[in-house]
């Protein structure tokens, strides 16, 4: 039987990226996937007639441009179309819109508060400074502050130097930014509730924290540090739905001679004499390889797909205590036509934007209290988009696809599995909230797919269905991610690597963990590096 150089477990965007870079280095690579489609949560699915759903992740910005260019994803069919702005519908019947055009954005903000409109410039410069600082770390391995290895010391010195270069005041501002809550961060700039609300959403998307929880200002960056065509902070839709990203990376993998196998779920990672030697598939087949790379989250990798006795006890316990919390759901809807939002002027560009239906910081925080109590938010924070307005390929002419990301939605209700009645009620909560602002919306619904974290876990395999494969709290970032001492893509077993979003720098369709892991693997194998370095954009 053939022995591969490397098996990558899981064909999500990180697994594919990792496999593609390994294949480009000349390794004989196979990427195995349990589902009959690739992409993991980076997927477009045909679930109703001629509609294509981005039924998990739905927008694109974080994908590192270095990876995009290096893998020539444009040649493999990836196009990202930027979309504009966001809107906050208000209970008063008014709305607050945010726009790309700075003039328009200023005027709209000034409609609520001139003070805030003026403060926005300062806010955006300060936030962008934090983005620039962090962007530099995305395509590099986090140094271990407890190690004395020259590589770690060198990287620590580099980061320290970059930090020092900021100047004293900005260093303090950075410390504060990394530790404070998004609500308090915004309080320092703005006075208008709805404007703060509009900006606060990015601090809690995908996390089991509220806007007042310390540490959420940092999460903001995970929604600001991306770009579309070099436009930092912009978001876009992949043409054909999010699955187009995975397809393009898979194209790069196959072009480099890598192999892809779907419907090949891994039951067990095989360890012999303390070294990973291959995987056993669900159907009983075994695949041998010199190294095994897991793109699954850290809990699924070690707690489900490995034998406890192959792992050090302390490590195992730490994996058990790693926090991956289901905190968001998804409702995907096929529409017979475009719903109207009477609050908006006819033909408003805001139809193309992210829509939200919560207008106060208090409602944002209360949504979190429901999650803490073990249920979904009765007044949730939705991030709703209608991608078919920018990308007509996803639905038949005149018809639309709507994607609603829902915060908060727990993995379990009161500590037990969801019932189907509860799942329906969850879907209704979302639909009703939108219908409050769009009278014709309900009549246009042809099909709705309701996804709780439990559904996402069952289908995609991500523990608790968490979009980041693990909470982005300080205890699980950088050199602490996923487990202190194992933050450099290597686990405690020889020949076994990790390349999923549980690793630095975390989730979102960034592909950085996959690429960084490939660099470390090639270093261990003493092969030439195929992974691009951060080319710096500042």
């Amino acid at each position: 039987m053939k022995t591969y150089d490397a098996i990558v477990v899981g064909a999500g965007h990180n697994g594919l990226t990792n496999a593609a870079f390994l294949a480009r280095a000349g390794l004989d690579v196979v990427c195995v996937e349990k589902n009959d489609y690739i992409g993991g949560a980076t997927v477009s699915r045909n679930l109703y007639k001629d509609w294509w759903y981005s039924n998990c992740s739905y927008v694109c910005s974080l994908l590192r441009p270095e990876i995009y260019r290096s893998l020539e994803l444009h040649k493999h069919g990836l196009q990202v179309t930027p979309y504009g702005g966001s809107v906050q519908f208000m209970e008063s019947g008014d709305y607050y819109g945010s726009y790309h055009d700075p003039e328009v954005a200023y005027r709209e903000m000034a409609r609520f508060s001139r003070h805030d409109a003026d403060a926005y410039k300062r806010y955006s410069a300060d936030t962008m400074r934090q983005c620039r600082f962090i962007r530099d770390f995305l395509l590099s391995t986090a140094p271990d502050p407890t190690s004395f290895k020259p590589k770690d010391l060198k990287e620590l010195a580099r980061i320290g130097g970059k930090f020092m270069d900021m100047g004293e005041d900005r260093m303090y501002e950075t410390i504060r930014f990394w530790t404070m809550s998004v609500a308090e961060y915004l309080d320092e700039y703005f006075e208008t509730d709805v404007i703060k609300t509009a900006l606060s959403g990015s601090g809690i998307i995908g996390t089991a924290l509220g806007i007042h929880s310390p540490g959420t200002a940092y999460v903001l960056l995970h929604h600001y540090m991306g770009d579309v065509d070099g436009n930092v902070g912009s978001w876009g839709f992949a043409r054909g739905g999010t699955g187009a990203v995975a397809k393009a990376i898979a194209g790069a993998l196959e072009a480099a001679g890598g192999e892809l196998r779907t419907e090949a779920g891994v039951d067990q990672i095989i360890v012999r004499n303390g070294k990973a030697v291959g995987v056993a598939l669900d159907n009983g087949d075994e695949i041998k390889a010199n190294i095994v790379v897991s793109a699954m989250d850290v809990k699924r990798t070690y707690l489900t797909c490995m034998d406890k006795k192959d792992l050090p006890e302390k490590f195992y316990r730490r994996v058990e205590n790693f926090k991956i919390r289901g905190s968001s759901g998804k409702v995907n809807i096929a529409l017979d036509g475009l719903p109207t939002f009477p609050a908006l002027p006819e033909g408003s560009s805001l139809y193309h934007s992210d829509m939200h239906f919560i207008d106060s910081m208090e409602r944002m925080e209360r949504a979190y209290d429901d999650w803490k109590d073990g249920t979904w938010s009765k007044d949730p924070y939705l991030d709703m988009t209608i991608p078919t307005l920018s990308d007509p390929t996803m639905a038949p002419p005149g018809k639309h696809f709507m994607s609603c990301f829902v915060q908060y939605c727990p993995r379990q209700i009161d500590g037990r599995d969801w019932t189907s009645e509860e799942k329906d009620a969850f879907g209704q909560t979302v639909i009703n909230q939108i219908a409050n602002y769009s009278p014709d919306f309900k009549d246009l619904i042809l099909h709705a797919e309701i996804r709780t974290p439990q559904d996402i876990e069952n289908e995609i395999g991500i523990t608790e269905g968490n979009i980041f494969h693990g909470e982005l709290t300080m205890d699980q970032l950088l050199f602490n991610r996923p487990i202190p001492g194992y933050a450099q893509y290597r686990g405690p077993v020889d020949g076994l690597y990790m390349c999923g979003s549980s690793n630095h720098p975390g989730g979102g369709i960034m592909a950085a963990p996959g690429a960084n892991a490939a660099r470390e693997i090639l270093r261990d194998l003493k092969r030439p590096n195929t992974v691009p370095e951060n080319f710096g954009d500042d």
Binding site: M164, D169, G215, M474, D475, N480
Partner: protein, 514 residues
């Protein structure tokens, strides 16, 4: 004619007194001006009902720094010491927590607790070292700053690789995750959660609550004591030490403003119109009061004034004083237990739920409570046979929707009594007089803006190098001649004296260098 001093300390809180005493011992002519009749600030004993006295704000001593004790040769007499924490449960036996062990829980929890406390103690010792020196500045080439930073790094490394990893992981974490990972007993989880959030605007699920827990241990490792004669006796002892060193203390002398002339402090003016000259004014008041009220925002650079304005200091802890005609019966407690610290925090979710309303400006319908009966071991506080209960009740947000009017106070009082009654059925019949101090009352009585006992929230974004705000973390304001020495500065609140001592040492070192 005005009096002239080398230094004027505004406020005779315990930190102000420590600072004044240390400056005087270095030969300075020091004047302390206190707004209230008594010295001590929030560390005082006062009569709240005929014949009943109580520590009016701070009521437990657990952080007085050994360095401060040693420098000022303090030896406060204690009425109760090394107190056990008794966590009450409405329908089961209470559990008892002490610094190293816990009773009333399963063996597994007891063993886990021992290990947990050992580790936390170790980490808090590491922090404590830094609590007794001014935080270094970042980005300077100053040898001392670099040395202190280097030492911090080295001390972390000395923990050993695995413990350092654990320290770096835990420092930003929340207490909820730690207690649920470790312990099965809900009372144990609740009591530890309470210790992590008491006095803050945080719930057990808020990241940062491990830090606040460590802060609590950074002194006597969490061993609480009640000073004989109440907390006021500690302040009196401090005032005595200060006077012996030559400090002039004048009470009932509220300061109206710090006089700024040509961009530097030249003295203070009192409400009564008296002027005192000094080229050094040290404020024991909270940073916001100091900058915005005593100095005036116009004398501060815009960015700095903005930072001070945004300083977070929303007090959440109310103080309850009850005069009782006898000790209330408490389920599962024996007589001697009334000398201990008793808490109502049945589990971590209870504490979290108590926190929820505070976020929206509402008080907790089921508050968490820390209770002591100081009269049980100190008969000077109440008439013979009668007793005093002193309790911290959380959460009572400073910015209550609708404000803390009499009706709101009466309603919250009712809530507290009914919560207490679940554990002490006859408490209602025992009360002969009562007093409830909300954060708004604490603000007006003790002149602490926001009524927060740390003067500024104790979170990582207002900690160490950035406490209270950047530009003032080394006890010096960016206005010549003005210093801070209160709980709003590094390391924070609690009757520890660290801030006052650090401020004095900073000032003296600076003078020496000049």
């Amino acid at each position: 004619m005005t009096d002239s001093y080398d230094a004027i300390v505004v406020g005779a809180g315990h930190n102000g007194l420590v600072c004044a005493a240390l400056l005087a011992r270095a030969g300075k002519r020091v004047l302390v001006l206190e707004a209230n009749e008594q010295v001590g600030g929030a560390a005082i004993t006062r009569e709240f009902a005929d014949g009943y006295s109580v520590s009016a704000c701070a009521h437990l001593l657990y952080q007085l720094q050994p360095e401060v004790r040693k420098d000022l040769k303090l030896s406060p007499r204690l009425a109760s010491e090394d107190m056990t924490t008794i966590a009450l449960c409405a329908d089961a036996r209470p559990i008892r927590l002490s610094a190293g062990s816990v009773e009333g829980v399963a063996d597994k929890d007891a063993e886990q607790y021992r290990r947990f406390r050992k580790r936390m103690t170790r980490f808090s010792d590491l922090l404590r070292k830094f609590f007794n020196k001014p935080p270094p500045r970042l980005g300077t080439k100053d040898f001392k700053d670099l040395f202190t930073l280097g030492q911090l790094g080295l001390d972390m490394r000395m923990l050993g690789r695995e413990e350092m990893q654990e320290f770096l992981r835990l420092i930003g974490m929340n207490i909820h995750d730690e207690v649920t990972e470790r312990f099965e007993n809900p009372l144990l989880r609740g009591a530890i959660s309470l210790d992590a959030v008491l006095g803050t605007h945080l719930g057990p699920r808020s990241p940062n609550t491990i830090l606040t827990y460590l802060y609590r241990l950074a002194g006597d490792h969490g061993r609480a004591a009640i000073p004989a004669g109440g907390m006021g006796s500690v302040s009196n002892e401090l005032a005595h030490a200060a006077r012996n060193a030559g400090v002039t203390i004048r009470t009932a002398m509220p300061v109206k403003r710090i006089v700024i002339d040509n961009g530097r402090a030249t003295g203070v003016e009192t409400v009564s119109g008296e002027q005192f000259d000094s080229l050094m004014v040290i404020s024991n008041a909270d940073p916001r009061t100091t900058v915005l009220n005593l100095i005036g925002a116009k004398y501060a650079e815009t960015g700095f004034a903005r930072r001070i304005t945004h300083l977070r200091a929303k007090g959440n802890a109310a103080k309850l004083h009850l005069a009782l005609d006898g000790l209330p019966a408490i389920k599962g407690l024996s007589k001697k237990d009334y000398a201990e610290r008793i808490v109502i925090a049945p589990d971590e979710n209870y504490v979290e739920r108590a926190f929820n309303p505070a976020k929206y400006g509402e008080s907790s319908p089921d508050p968490v409570i820390e209770i002591t009966f100081p009269s049980f071991c100190d008969e000077t506080l109440a008439p013979t046979g009668k007793h005093v209960m002193s309790a911290v009740v959380q959460y009572a947000p400073y910015a209550l929707k609708g404000g803390w009017n009499e009706a709101a106070k009466a309603e919250f009082m009712q809530t507290i009594i009914s919560t207490l009654s679940e554990y002490m059925p006859d408490i209602g019949q025992r009360i002969t007089a009562s007093e409830l101090l909300t954060p708004a009352d604490i603000e007006s009585e003790f002149h602490i803006s926001g009524g927060h006992w740390h003067h500024a929230e104790l979170t990582l974004d207002q900690f160490l190098f950035v406490r209270p705000v950047n530009g003032a973390a080394q006890y010096r304001l960016p206005i010549d001649g003005v210093y801070l020495c209160g709980a709003g500065t590094h390391p924070g609140g609690g009757v520890s004296g660290a801030a006052g001592r650090n401020a004095a040492r900073t000032i003296l070192k600076r003078e020496k260098a000049a």
